[in-house]
């Protein structure tokens, strides 16, 4: 019995050790997003609270905490409250399988990449539930748009993952990183990296694909009826998802915790730092895209997903597998 209690305490400690930095990083990244956005548009962005405005997110969080939570009287209350909780939980549980460095990973499971994919495909429920339970027109329209969008872009992400898995021969995330010791997959699979990046934008409802919350048409989409801490949870979950997509991109294509060149001055920097740099690099790209590209129309979005990305990535699967077989480079299992 004492063993079990020990294990539970140890695991809780490990989980907190991972989750608290993730939550802090999410708060910081909201600030970074707004700063990058502002710099592209020649504004200053949030720069008042704390040094360089670093504490802006903290101030925002405090504001949300003290606001009143309003639950619409015609809403379906249980599901209405459940929706932001599900979004937040799903955004955080997927961090369990991300290998932070060569030794530190919370759960080194066999099917890590499938787990990530499954959790990110569950993310659509938070949005649908929020939109439906609000019992109002704008949230419902936003939720339906968002669900259709996420389901269609998931398909191309899945096919891209198959491309990487063909080169690795394992579903374990640490194995995927180790397989990139010779060359990062971003070089041989560059077109797939581009498609993955764009699909990740669509999957996380980021601009230019932020149709679910297009403010000119739908007020705020599925978040319209939410206020206070519940709104903040949606918002935090969204940014945690973005961070997760960046982590997934850096593990699949940019070599995770590997240093760019495997020689002396680079190798003394711990792997976790490299991973953080790669995630930040991808996130700054996300933020730049938000500032630069105008929003897509809905039919253009669907066309891009189904008629361009899906055939392209499927063709690339055929190409990759025939290359690997012809040159006899299939990974040994």
């Amino acid at each position: 019995m004492l063993d079990y209690i020990n294990i539970i305490f140890l695991e809780t400690y490990k989980i907190l050790f991972l989750l608290i930095p993730v939550l802090v990083a999410v708060a910081m990244i909201v600030w970074l997003d707004r700063r990058v956005w502002a710099f592209v548009q020649k504004r200053r962005g949030p720069n008042v609270v704390g040094p360089f405005g670093l504490l802006q997110s903290l101030a925002d969080a405090l504001k949300y905490l003290f606001k009143e939570i309003i639950i619409p009287s015609t809403s379906n209350k249980v599901i209405f409250i459940l929706a932001p909780i599900i979004t937040m939980t799903l955004a955080l549980i997927s961090w369990a399988v991300i290998p932070i460095s060569d030794t530190y990973v919370l759960a080194d499971i066999n099917v890590g990449i499938l787990y990530l994919f499954a959790v990110s495909s569950l993310g659509v429920y938070g949005i649908i539930m929020g939109g439906w339970a609000s019992n109002s027109k704008y949230p419902f329209l936003g939720a339906i748009r968002s669900a259709a969008q996420m389901v269609s872009y998931e398909v191309s992400i899945g096919v891209i993952i198959i491309n990487v898995l063909l080169c690795v021969g394992s579903l374990n995330l640490s194995d995927i990183v180790i397989a990139q010791k010779k060359i990062w997959f971003v070089i041989p699979l560059f077109p797939m990296f581009v498609i993955f990046f764009i699909s990740a934008l669509a999957e996380t409802n980021r601009p230019p694909f932020d149709l679910p919350e297009a403010e000119a048409e739908l007020v705020a989409g599925y978040q319209t009826e939410y206020s206070g801490m519940m709104y903040a949870m949606f918002w935090l979950g969204e940014y945690a998802n973005i961070l997760l997509m960046c982590a997934m991109g850096s593990i699949l294509f940019l070599g995770g915790w590997l240093s760019p060149i495997n020689i002396y001055p680079f190798t003394i920097i711990p792997g976790a730092i490299w991973l953080i740099f790669k995630i930040l690099f991808l996130f700054i790209l996300f933020a730049l895209v938000k500032a630069i590209v105008p929003r897509y129309r809905y039919d253009q979005l669907m066309r891009l997903g189904w008629k361009i990305f899906l055939p392209l990535s499927l063709t690339w699967v055929v190409f990759t597998s025939s290359y690997l077989i012809y040159f006899d480079k299939l990974p040994n299992i």
Partner: protein, 210 residues
């Protein structure tokens, strides 16, 4: 072992209760949510017996895609209202005999499956496959599905493809009145075939005809 059985009973309890709630709950959307909970707990059970690949695929396919479409249909068609009218109406429904027949068939199938459990030890020894404990189950599925069972696998793929094409053919209506954008025409437009200089005569104006 204690922890294992605690988790097993928790998940199976959730699965059974949510399966009952799917049929009992009055709100149709709630039924779909309970169905999703059922899928999730069953995939947890899959993972617990060591079939993590099947569990994850179950999550991705059923929960991530199929149940979303279910939810769409239920939310859009307003099935909830229909169901409630159905329950409150006095006349006996014509659908009940069909429902009874289908549920009887499923019930007998279940009995056959559970009865087959008795012969499980014989089946394992008679199996042509050898289970290798060192290989993870993703690999063993991969070894089997593309070698021994390739024809069945391809056949099921073909059936799904035909079903998909059939569904599209049945529901597709070409609407000629809707304006749509031809991307090819739009991109291949040149200045020479879209802009034209016209000398306008005094007091005459311009007459545009296509």
């Amino acid at each position: 072992m204690i922890a294992h059985s605690i988790f097993f009973y928790t998940f199976s309890l959730i699965a059974i209760i949510s399966a009952i709630m799917v049929t009992v709950s009055k709100n149709t959307v709630h039924s779909v949510f309970f169905l999703i909970l059922d899928f999730i707990s069953i995939s947890c059970l899959f993972i617990m017996i060591g079939a993590e690949f099947l569990g994850m695929i179950m999550l991705i396919v059923y929960v991530g895609a199929v149940a979303v479409l279910f939810l769409f249909v239920v939310m859009m068609l307003n099935v909830a209202q229909q169901k409630n009218q159905w329950f409150s109406s006095r006349e006996i429904s014509r659908h009940i005999p069909i429902g009874i027949i289908i549920s009887m068939i499923i019930f007998f199938e279940l009995i056959i499956v559970v009865g087959g459990w008795k012969y499980k030890p014989d089946l394992i020894t008679a199996m042509s496959l050898t289970l290798n404990k060192d290989v993870s189950n993703t690999h063993s599925i991969g070894y089997v599905i593309y070698t021994d069972y390739i024809h069945i696998f391809q056949l099921s793929g073909m059936i799904l493809l035909v079903a998909m094409i059939g569904a599209i053919v049945l529901t597709f209506i070409k609407n000629t009145e809707v304006k749509s954008q031809s991307y090819f025409n739009q991109i291949s437009r040149e200045r020479s075939d879209s802009v034209e200089m016209i000398e306008v005569e005094k007091n005459k104006g311009v007459k545009i005809d296509d």
